[in-house]
Structure formats: structure tokens, C-alpha cells
Amino acid sequence: MSDLRWQDVTVRYGRHVVVDRVDLTVPEGRIVGLVGESGSGKSTLARAAVGLAPVHGGTITLGGAPVPTSGRRRPLQMVFQDPYASLDPRMTVGDSVAEAMPPGRSRQQRRAEVERLLELVHVDPARARTRPGGLSGGQRQRVAIARALAARPRVVIADEITSALDVSIQGVVLNLLRELRRDLGLSILFISHNLAVVRYVASHVAVMRAGRIVEQGPTERVLGHPNHDYTRTLLAAVPGRRSQP
């Protein structure tokens, strides 16, 4: 069992409660979608799990034990939204990926592993020696995914990773995530404001609003027969759902 679980988690900044007693589980080998508008606390919830936001109450566990946020073994990894900010512009792609690997390997092993990972995300391994400046947004995002995988995570959090990409490239990244889940059994928390995208990749979905999760369940049920008014509002706002004017 390696479920990623938030139990009764609260995050505050000053007196402002950003995440309010949230319970959420990402079951092993599943993709869970987390939707909500900006300011709903969905990114903060994710950042709390990797130690980038302070937790004021509750616990976050991975496979029953607290998520390690120090030391070299990090079974929980995160991929960020902006492909232009998520890679060090002065480091080669290969070095960025290799850096995330757990220690205790020879240089050759590392290089081989970098190549394997880049191939896995469909980036030409020959690009390991280039800097991110020479890559497109979609390629950068895939390198960022390879770096996350290099740490041998059990769970990956993907925070709006396609919203800065052109539509033609978004599909490539979405297909890749589904492939990684299918082939590696990777669990993923997929954060997005785009319901159609979440519907496509996630088997479960949680809807967040003002720091609370207002509804969660299997994607088909939540999006097909929403219980909460807010979910219905979100659904009604998806473009292309209404008839032509």
C-alpha cells in the first residue's frame, strides 16, 4: 500500500486559512484530479505535501508513514506549471535529471539512467547535453517529468502542468501521464482548472473551493451526476457545453 493521504490538513498564512481541514487520498496506481479555481487552495494543498507550505494541523502520509521532506530519498515528487521556470537555465538537461537521482550510483549508471528516462518521456536522449534554452515548452515539461521520475517516486503531483502549453502539445503530455500510470503503476495527483482535461486523465476527482473539498468521487460520477452546486457551476462553465448562439 502506498496511498498518499491528507488527513484533516490545515494550512494557514498568517490568519488566512488557505487549506481548511482537508481529507484527500490518492490511491496507489491511480490518477486523481483536483479541480478548483485560483485561490481555492489546491496548489497549497499539494505544496504542503512536499514541504513547500507549512502544515498547521492534520497529517500527510505516504503508505501510512509521514512524507519525508528531508534526506535524499523522496518518494513524492512534483512537476510545476511554468515550463520556462522549472528547469535551471544554466544546467544541461541531463544534469538536471541526474541531480534528482538517489545517490550511490556510478557516473555511467547515471548517464544510462538519464537516457532511459528521457526516452521514457519521448525526448531524444541526445538532448541530455543541451540546455533548456534549446527546448520547446512541451519538451521542457517532459524533461521536468523525467526529473521527477528520476527520484524514483511512488507518487507525482502535477500542478497545472499543461495550462501553459499550446493545445497541440498538451495532448502529448496528457498521453504521457496516462502511459506512465499504465506502464509504471505511478500514482498521480493531477491539479487543473480544466475539467475536460481532468476528465480525460483522472479516474477520481476532488473539487476544491475556498480551502475545502466540496465533493469527491469517481470522475464519471462527480462530473456526470454532481451532488454539489459548485461542481454544477464549474461544469456549466466549461466552454463548448452550450448550444450555439
Binding site: G171, N175, G240
Partner: protein
């Protein structure tokens, strides 16, 4: 990166400053060897002499040649200045990056101390240290170095804090890389460049302070001499021989200026926030074969006189300067917008869709060049020079909505006042009246509690409200055309919906023409009657939105529609993807620009660019194989890596 430094040297100012700096540094090395003896030669027969052919700047009280001494003093002056700068940078680097390592509380204390030190006058600090470390060059170096450290500490701190918040640093931390390692591997290398620039500027300033300190007698002590010391000696003989003071003074000024200017021009050259590599080289073939074929639009002249046509664009071309010759990101775009019609323009980044909008509204930056055989708003020609009449026409009949409303709202002025200004400026409306119209318009775009809101500043508005306020601003005149460039991309879905609804309402009620530019086919599909699909600066298909899902004939349009998941997409199949990436406007192929990604491409496609042809129904498409069935769906990924190279 190195290439950008070289680019700085190619500007006249940068080259001049660099040459001057080089000269000063060379002098510092060779002057004592060449003029050392002359500078020491005592000639008691000829003391305190004025300028002569033998001693250009005269002699000092021991009859030594002043010019030689000024030249020789370059080494000590520059050496001390560089040493002091190095101390300032190093100590600053230590103090500035320490808060990152120390954790929150100790870090905050450190920052407070540094901030207090920065506020303390630098020269006073230097004087204080000079007293502490004693008179002489060593004390002065330490004093000036330490006095300069706080400002470098603050700069470093700001740069480090900025970088520490970046995603790649977060990613390294999450991967388990320790703070110290992150500092050395990710943060400091990225801090180096701005720090070096500031150190260069700083060196110039340090040079001046050093001269000041020596001049006050607190710096270099005789028998050593630097420029400040020479200045001090020269001033005492000012009435006998002004050159004795002017020569070292000029040296300080020139060297200081050289460093300052070099730093400034490098800062300016690197200032362009391009962390990506430059665009690939452009082939020279930016030929004339690309001009859109004439007569591509069958409806041509029928509509020319049509009073219902709000916007009429024919053969629009935008040319911008590129690193290797001009680039044409918009190549022969023609379309019309009628009263009450909503036309969507879709395309990926770099397709030229936004530039098309900017060209129509005459907002293309000065470096860009707009050409068209016709460009008319309400029958008025928009080409040619800017006139007050045209400005009024654009100001009142055209409303422009951008993705980021903050770029067009002045953050320091109240919303209501900004809107009112449009009316009083373009329509000559009295203030009171303009204000009440502003409130009326804000109400019309759905801003609640208008009386209070109108008196607020833009930052007090949420993103959606700002977007509404901007639309309201466009409605201050009586626009006949609204051009909206990605108006909802930065907004949440529910807010996006409200803004789209608002645009649809305005268009319906007032029979206003709407041009909606978006990368999202679904958004365009929701609001518009007609869609123009742009690829590589051309319209490749023009069709009714109702036909988007099933009736598109261009392979690109079809791929674009299939690539975006909607609420009905089959989740058991992989998403269709478009292999490769958009072509660079600087590297257009000879034939169809889409050929490299198109499953139907053949030899003809690669050789000849297909013209945009209209059918009797008014739909247009530019493809040699329009409407032909695509071979068995799009491949999932193998082709993907093939062409996706920037």
C-alpha cells in the same frame, strides 16, 4: 549567454566603454614600466612649473613630471579600487546569501541588519572604518570594501530570494538536494551575471570614493601615490599650476566613467529577459513567392461598398526585424467583419493571430511594419500616417481587450476616472457627464456597487472585474468593433464564462462586430459565428463555427479540434496529437507551411504553397487536399520527437 555579452560590445556605447576600460587596464599594467623612472625623477631646478613642452602637465614640488605620475598612479588607483570592489562583492555575497541558509528567524535578523547598514551613508561608514583600520592604503581598501558590502548584500539577497522562489529550485529541494548544494549549483550561477554587472558599475564608484578618501588624506600615504593623493597635492598648487589638479582629476573621472558606462551598457544589453536561446538563423529566402495570391476572395468587391462591413482587411502583411533580416509573421491575411458578427481567430503561439489584431488596431510596435492593400474601419482607411482624426476614430469606434487588463489600466488612478477620461478626451464630454457615463458603463458590464467601485484602484479589483472594467472602458465611446486578444486565458472557468457572456451580449445588443483571438478552439466555438484558423502567418481555413467539429476541411483545423479534449472525448483512446511543432516565421519552407506535420503532405505540398480558395458558400480553405480523409487517425507519439526541435 556569451553571445549576449558580445552583442553588448556591438553597441556604440558598449564598445566605447569597453575600449576605455581596456585602455585603463592596460595602462595600469604598463605605465609603471614605461614612465616609472620619469615619475620618480627629481629635478629641484624645475619645481612647481606650469605646463611646458617637456612637462605637459607641469611638475610638482620636487620637480617630478605630473603627467608621468598620473599615468603611473593608474596601477595603484585601479588596483586598490578593484581590491575594494572584490571585498564589497565577496562580503556582500556572504551576507546576502546567508539568510537563505540560516532559516527564517536568523535570516530575518540578518536582513534587517543589512538593510540598516544600507541606509547608513557610505562615506561615513568608510570614514569610520578608516579610523578603525588606521590610515593608509590597506585601511582604505578595507573601509571602502566594507562600506560597499551592504548594498551588494542587499542585491544578492534580493536575487537569491527571487531565485529561491523559482520552480527549478523547489524541484531540486523536493528531490532532496541540500540547501548548501542548491545555493552553489542553482542559485549562485544564476546570480553571477547581474552581480558582475553591478560590480563593474560599483568599481567606478569605488574609484571615486577612493580618490575622495586619499584626497582627504585618509587613503594612500606618501611616498606612495594614487590619483586622489595627486589630486590632493595638485590642489595645494592650484593657483600656480591648475593642470596639477586637473590631470589626476580627469583620470579619476575617465576611469570611473568607463567602468560605470560599461556596467550600464552590459546591464541594458542583458536586461532583455531572455533566458531562452535566440531564434534559429533565418534563411535568406524570405522571398516574394509567399504573397497571398491575388483574388483569393471571391466576395471581394461586392462587400467593399457594403455599409454593414465594419472591418475590411485585405492582404495584410506585418514585417518585423529579425536577427538575420526581416521576418514576416503575418503574410497576406484577408477578412471582413460585419455588423453584429463575431469572428474568431485561432492558432498556436507564433501563428500570427495576435499580431494580426494589433496590426488592425494600429498597435504594432514601432519596429514592425504593416502593409495592406486595404485596411478599413467603418470605411475609413487606417493605413498611412497617424492623424488626430484617425486617432479619434480608433478611440471611439474600436475597443481593444487584452489578456492582461493591467497592461492597459493605470495602477495609480481610480477606475472611474480612467474610464471618464476616455470620454472627455475623445468625445470632449464635460467631466461630470463623463463620470456618470463611466459609472453607467461599469454597471453595464456587471460591476456591482458601481458608486463605490468606481472610486477604487485597479489592484482592488479581481482579475475578472478588471477585465470587465477594461471592456467597460472600450464601451465609453460607441464602439462598432471590439477586438479581444485572449481575453479569458488568465481567468478561472466560471469568470471566463461571465466575460464571454458579456462579450456576446454587447455584440448582440448593439450589433457590434467582434474579433475574438484565442488559442482555445472551444472558447471561440462558444462565442463566434465564424472561425479563421491561422497557421504560420496565414489564414488556412475560414469556416462557420458550427462546422468546426465535423465539417473542417484543412488537416490542421481537424487536428486542432481533435487534440483538445472536451467533455465528450473518448477516454479509452489516446488523444490525437499534432506531431512536430509550429514553424518558425524565420524559417518558412517553400511549400505549404504545415507540410512537415501533415499526414496528407505530398511532393506538391512541399513545393507549392496552396492558395486560400473560397467556395460558393463563402468558406475558404488553403490546402491541396482539402477535405480528403486522414489516414487512420493521428499517430500517438513516434513522429513527435521527429520534428519537435526548436
Amino acid at each position: 549567454m556569451e553571445r549576449r555579452w558580445l552583442r553588448v560590445l556591438r553597441t556604440p556605447l558598449g564598445a566605447g566603454a569597453a575600449a576605455l576600460c581596456g585602455l585603463v587596464l592596460v595602462l595600469a599594467v604598463v605605465a609603471p614600466l614605461v614612465w616609472g623612472a620619469a615619475a620618480e625623477a627629481v629635478d629641484t631646478a624645475d619645481i612647481l612649473a606650469g605646463p611646458s613642452s617637456e612637462h605637459w602637465a607641469g611638475t610638482d614640488n620636487l620637480g617630478r613630471d605630473i603627467l608621468a605620475r598620473v599615468l603611473v598612479a593608474t596601477r595603484l588607483s585601479i588596483g586598490l579600487a578593484l581590491a575594494a570592489t572584490a571585498i564589497a562583492v565577496l562580503v556582500g555575497l556572504l551576507l546576502g546569501s546567508a539568510p537563505y541558509l540560516l532559516g527564517r528567524r536568523a535570516g530575518r535578523l540578518m536582513t534587517a541588519i543589512v538593510n540598516a547598514a544600507v541606509a547608513f551613508p557610505g562615506l561615513l561608514l568608510a570614514l569610520f572604518f578608516a579610523v578603525v583600520f588606521g590610515l593608509g592604503a590597506r585601511g582604505a581598501v578595507l573601509a571602502i570594501g566594507l562600506a560597499g558590502a551592504p548594498s551588494f548584500a542587499r542585491l544578492t539577497h534580493a536575487l537569491v530570494a527571487n531565485l529561491a522562489a523559482r520552480d527549478f529550485v523547489a524541484a531540486a529541494r523536493i528531490a532532496g538536494v541540500g540547501r548548501l548544494r542548491v545555493l552553489f549549483r542553482h542559485i549562485l550561477p544564476n546570480v553571477a551575471e547581474p552581480l558582475a554587472v553591478n560590480a563593474t558599475i560599483g568599481a567606478g564608484t569605488v574609484l571615486l570614493s577612493f580618490a575622495g578618501l586619499s584626497f582627504l588624506g585618509l587613503g594612500v600615504q606618501s611616498p606612495d601615490y594614487d590619483w586622489g593623493r595627486l589630486l590632493y597635492e595638485g590642489v595645494s598648487a592650484l593657483y600656480v599650476n591648475p593642470m596639477a589638479a586637473l590631470a589626476p582629476g580627469a583620470a579619476v573621472l575617465l576611469a570611473g566613467l568607463a567602468f560605470n558606462l560599461l556596467g550600464e551598457s552590459v546591464a541594458k544589453g542583458l536586461g532583455s529577459p531572455t533566458l531562452r536561446g535566440g531564434p534559429p538563423p533565418a534563411p535568406s529566402a524570405d522571398g516574394d513567392s509567399r504573397r497571398a495570391p491575388a483574388g483569393e476572395d471571391a466576395r471581394d468587391d461586392v462587400e467593399a461598398a457594403d455599409p454593414d462591413v465594419v472591418l475590411d482587411v485585405r492582404d495584410l502583411e506585418v514585417t518585423v526585424p529579425g536577427p538575420r533580416g526581416a521576418i514576416r509573421p503575418v503574410r497576406g491575411v484577408s477578412f471582413t467583419v460585419r455588423r453584429g458578427e463575431a469572428v474568431g481567430v485561432v492558432g498556436e503561439s507564433g501563428s500570427g493571430k495576435s499580431l494580426t489584431a494589433l496590426a488592425v488596431t494600429r498597435l504594432v510596435a514601432d519596429s514592425g511594419h504593416v502593409e495592406a492593400t486595404r485596411l478599413r474601419l467603418l470605411g475609413d482607411d487606417l493605413r498611412g500616417a497617424d492623424t488626430p482624426r484617425r486617432r479619434r476614430l480608433l478611440g471611439t469606434s474600436l475597443a481593444m481587450v487584452f489578456q492582461d487588463p493591467m497592461t492597459s489600466l493605470n495602477p495609480t488612478r481610480r477606475i472611474g476616472g480612467q474610464l471618464a477620461e476616455v470620454a472627455s478626451h475623445h468625445l470632449g464630454m464635460p467631466r461630470r457627464e463623463a463620470m456618470s457615463r463611466a459609472e453607467d458603463r461599469l454597471g453595464a458590464v456587471g460591476i456591482p456597487d458601481v458608486g463605490r467601485r468606481a472610486r477604487q484602484y485597479p489592484h482592488e479589483f479581481s482579475g475578472g472585474m478588471r477585465q470587465r472594467a477594461m471592456i467597460g472602458m472600450g464601451l465609453m465611446g460607441s464602439p462598432r468593433l471590439i477586438v479581444a486578444d485572449e481575453p479569458t486565458t488568465a481567468l478561472d472557468v466560471t469568470v471566463q464564462q461571465q466575460v464571454l457572456d458579456l462579450l456576446a451580449t454587447i455584440r448582440g445588443d448593439d450589433a457590434v462586430g467582434l474579433v475574438l483571438i484565442s488559442h482555445d478552439v472551444t472558447v471561440v466555438g462558444e462565442v463566434c459565428d465564424r472561425v479563421l484558423v491561422m497557421y504560420a502567418g496565414r489564414i488556412v481555413e475560414d469556416l462557420p463555427t458550427s462546422e468546426l467539429a465535423t465539417g473542417a476541411r484543412h488537416p490542421y483545423t481537424r487536428a486542432l479540434v481533435a487534440a483538445v479534449p472536451d467533455m465528450e472525448t473518448d477516454i479509452d483512446e489516446p488523444l490525437a496529437t499534432i506531431p512536430g511543432r509550429p514553424v518558425d516565421p524565420a524559417e518558412l519552407p517553400a511549400g505549404c507551411a504545415y507540410a512537415a506535420r501533415c499526414p496528407l503532405a505530398d511532393a506538391r505540398c512541399r513545393a507549392e504553397d496552396p492558395p486560400l480558395v473560397a467556395d460558393p458558400g463563402g468558406r475558404r480553405v488553403a490546402c491541396w487536399h482539402a477535405g480528403e480523409p486522414l489516414p487512420g487517425g493521428t499517430a500517438e507519439h513516434p513522429a513527435d520527437e521527429l520534428v519537435e526541435t526548436p
